[in-house]
C-alpha cells in the first residue's frame, strides 16, 4: 500500500491543476477573510468579540469548499478524461487499493494545506478586526474544523468524480449539492422541511467551521452527517469502479 501512496503522491504533486486549486483555496480563504473582517470592523460600534472575529475570518471556506471539491473531482476524473485511468488500473488492478490510495493522499494533502490556509485566514482576520481577546482553544478548534470541512468537501468531489467519471458533470453535481441546493432547502415547508434543511450536505457540514448549532445538529454531529453524505457518494463511486469496465 505504501507503494501506491507514493505513486499517488507523485501524481498529485506533478500536475498544475493541484497547484491551481490549492492556490485558489488559499486566495479565497485569505482574501475573503481580509475583506469581510475589514467590513465587520468598519461597521462595528465597539470591539468585536473574539469568537465572531474568528468566524468572520473563515467565511471564505464557503467558496474554498468548491476549489477543494474541484481538486477532489480532478484527482480521478482527469484520469478518465485522458484515458490514463487504464494505465493506473493496469499498475494497480485491485481497484479498491487504487481508490484508497487516492483518498489517503488527497486527505493528507488537503488537511495540511487547508489547516495552513485556515490558520493564515484567522491570522489576517484577527489582525484586521483586532478583538480584545481570543480563546486559544477556539482558535485551534476552528482551524482544525475548517481544515476538516474543506477536506470533506474535496472527498465529496472525489466520490462524485469516481461515480460520474466526467469532469464537468462531477463539478456541476458538486456545485449543486454543496452550494446551490443547501440554501434552497430553506424553502421546504413544515417540520420535515426544517429537518431536511438542517441535515442537507453543507448546511450540516459548515457547523464545524462556525462552531454553532442548528435546530437539530451541533458542530460535531453536523460534521458527522456531512461525512455520511460524502461516504454515500464515495461508496456508490467505489461500487461502480469495481464493477464497470475501465
Amino acid at each position: 500500500m505504501t507503494h501506491i501512496l507514493r505513486s499517488e503522491w507523485t501524481k498529485i504533486r506533478s500536475v498544475r491543476s493541484t497547484v491551481w486549486t490549492l492556490a485558489a483555496t488559499a486566495v479565497l480563504m485569505l482574501g475573503l477573510s481580509a475583506l469581510l473582517s475589514a467590513s465587520v470592523k468598519s461597521q462595528a460600534d465597539g470591539p468585536i468579540p473574539g469568537g465572531e472575529a474568528i468566524a468572520t475570518s473563515l467565511m471564505g471556506s464557503m467558496f474554498a469548499s468548491l476549489s477543494m471539491a474541484a481538486l477532489g473531482v480532478l484527482v480521478i476524473s482527469s484520469e478518465y478524461r485522458t484515458g490514463s485511468i487504464r494505465t493506473s488500473l493496469m499498475a494497480v488492478p485491485t481497484r479498491m487499493r487504487l481508490l484508497i490510495g487516492k483518498i489517503v493522499v488527497f486527505t493528507i494533502v488537503s488537511l495540511v494545506v487547508c489547516a495552513v490556509a485556515a490558520a493564515g485566514s484567522i491570522g489576517v482576520g484577527l489582525a484586521i478586526s483586532q478583538p480584545p481577546s481570543v480563546d486559544l482553544g477556539q482558535l485551534v478548534w476552528s482551524t482544525m474544523g475548517c481544515s476538516a470541512y474543506l477536506t470533506a468537501c474535496g472527498l465529496f468531489g472525489l466520490g462524485l468524480g469516481t461515480l460520474i467519471r466526467h469532469t464537468p458533470g462531477a463539478l456541476v453535481s458538486a456545485i449543486a449539492l454543496m452550494l446551490v441546493l443547501p440554501p434552497l432547502t430553506y424553502q421546504l415547508p413544515g417540520e420535515w422541511g426544517k429537518a431536511v434543511n438542517a441535515y442537507f450536505t453543507t448546511n450540516a457540514g459548515q457547523l464545524i467551521v462556525t462552531g454553532r448549532a442548528n435546530d437539530f445538529l451541533g458542530p460535531v454531529s453536523g460534521f458527522g452527517v456531512y461525512l455520511a453524505w460524502v461516504a454515500v457518494a464515495m461508496v456508490a463511486g467505489a461500487v461502480l469502479l469495481q464493477r464497470r469496465d475501465a
Binding site: T10, K11, S14, S17, G83, M90, A91, P93
Partner: protein, 296 residues
C-alpha cells in the same frame, strides 16, 4: 509457461458480441501477431487480458492466473494500449515515476527506460507537447519499466513514421529473442509479415486461425503462374487450364517449367513467366473477407 492463455473468452456489449468464444495461447520467445480487421475485437481482447474489462464468458490467464490477481503486475506484464492516454500536464519522468512507484520498481529504472526509447533529453518536458511518435516511445518505456516477461502492444505502429516503425519492429524482435512473449495487434497484414512469427487471426470476435506465419500462407491460398505474351490467346488455348485475364494468363495447375516447355514447342514468344508466391496479405484478405465489420 504459457504467457497468455485465453479460454472460451467472450465479451458482450448490449446486443453485440464483440468477442466470441475465443481461445488461443501466446508463448514466450515469439512475437505473436494478433491480427484482424478494424472492429474485430482485438482491443477488447487486450483489455480483458489486462483486467480492464470483465469477460462476459470464459477466462484469460497471464502466466497461469488472472491479471487482477497479480500484486505487482507490471513486473510480469508490460502493455501499450493507447499512447495518447496520458495526463499531458505531467513530465515524462514523473509520468513514469508514478507508474514505477506503484509497483515497487526502483526509481532508477525510469532513467534507464527513457534511455532505451531515446527520450532522455525530453524527460523533464510536459508530455502534452509530445508528437505521436514520442508518445508511442513513452508508452513503450512504461511497458518496459518492470522488465516484464510478457509484453502487449495494441497497434503500436499506427501513425508512426518509417523510422519509428523500423525501431518498434526491431525492438519487438529483440524482446522476443530475449525469451519474452510479445503479443502485438495490428490490422495490417504486411506489418505482421515483417515482425511476427506466430499469428492469432480473428474476425468479428471469433478465432479464424492460430498458426505460424508460414503455415498461414500455405494453408489459405495457393500460388499461381503468371504468363504474358503478345499471343496470349494462343497460350491460353495451349495451356487449357489457365484463367484468362485482360493482359495475362493465370495458371495454378501447371509449373513454370511445364508451361515454358509447352509454349517453346509451339514457338510462341513469352513476355513473362513468373511463379507468383502467395502473399500473407492475400492469405489474410481471403480468410477475413467474410468477417469484415464494414465492407466498402
Amino acid at each position: 509457461m504459457t504467457a497468455i492463455r485465453a479460454t472460451n473468452l467472450s465479451k458482450r456489449y448490449g446486443g453485440t458480441l464483440a468477442v466470441a468464444d475465443l481461445s488461443f495461447d501466446v508463448e514466450p520467445g515469439h512475437v505473436t501477431g494478433f491480427l484482424g480487421p478494424n472492429g474485430a475485437g482485438k482491443s477488447t481482447t487486450m483489455r480483458m487480458i489486462l483486467g480492464l474489462d470483465q469477460p462476459s464468458g470464459g477466462s484469460v490467464a497471464v502466466d497461469g492466473k488472472p491479471y487482477r490477481e497479480w500484486r505487482r503486475p507490471l513486473r510480469k506484464v508490460g502493455a501499450l494500449l493507447d499512447a495518447k492516454a496520458v495526463h499531458g500536464g505531467r513530465s515524462a519522468r514523473n509520468h513514469l515515476l508514478a507508474i514505477a512507484q506503484s509497483n515497487a520498481i526502483p526509481a532508477g529504472r525510469v532513467a534507464e527506460v527513457l534511455e532505451v526509447v531515446g527520450l532522455s533529453e525530453v524527460a523533464g518536458r510536459r508530455i502534452g507537447g509530445f508528437s505521436l511518435g514520442m508518445s508511442q516511445r513513452l508508452g513503450i518505456a512504461a511497458a518496459l519499466l518492470g522488465d516484464p516477461e510478457i509484453l502487449l502492444f495494441d497497434e503500436p505502429v499506427n501513425g508512426l513514421d518509417p523510422d519509428g516503425i523500423l525501431w518498434i519492429r526491431t525492438l519487438m524482435r529483440k524482446l522476443a529473442a530475449e525469451g519474452r512473449a510479445v503479443f502485438v495487434s495490428s490490422h495490417l497484414m504486411s506489418e505482421m509479415a515483417q515482425t511476427a512469427d506466430r499469428l492469432v487471426v480473428i474476425g468479428k470476435g471469433r478465432l479464424i486461425a492460430e498458426t505460424s506465419v508460414s503455415e498461414f500462407i500455405g494453408r489459405s491460398s495457393q500460388g499461381y503462374v503468371r504468363v504474358r505474351s503478345p499471343r496470349l490467346a494462343e497460350v491460353a488455348e495451349l495451356v487449357k487450364v489457365g484463367e484468362l485475364h485482360a493482359d495475362h494468363l493465370r495458371v495454378t495447375a501447371m509449373s513454370t517449367l511445364e508451361i515454358g516447355a509447352l509454349t517453346a514447342r509451339s514457338g510462341i514468344p513469352l513476355e513473362e513467366l513468373t511463379f507468383v508466391r502467395p502473399s500473407l496479405e492475400a492469405a489474410y484478405m481471403e480468410l477475413t473477407k467474410d468477417s469484415l465489420e464494414f465492407t466498402s
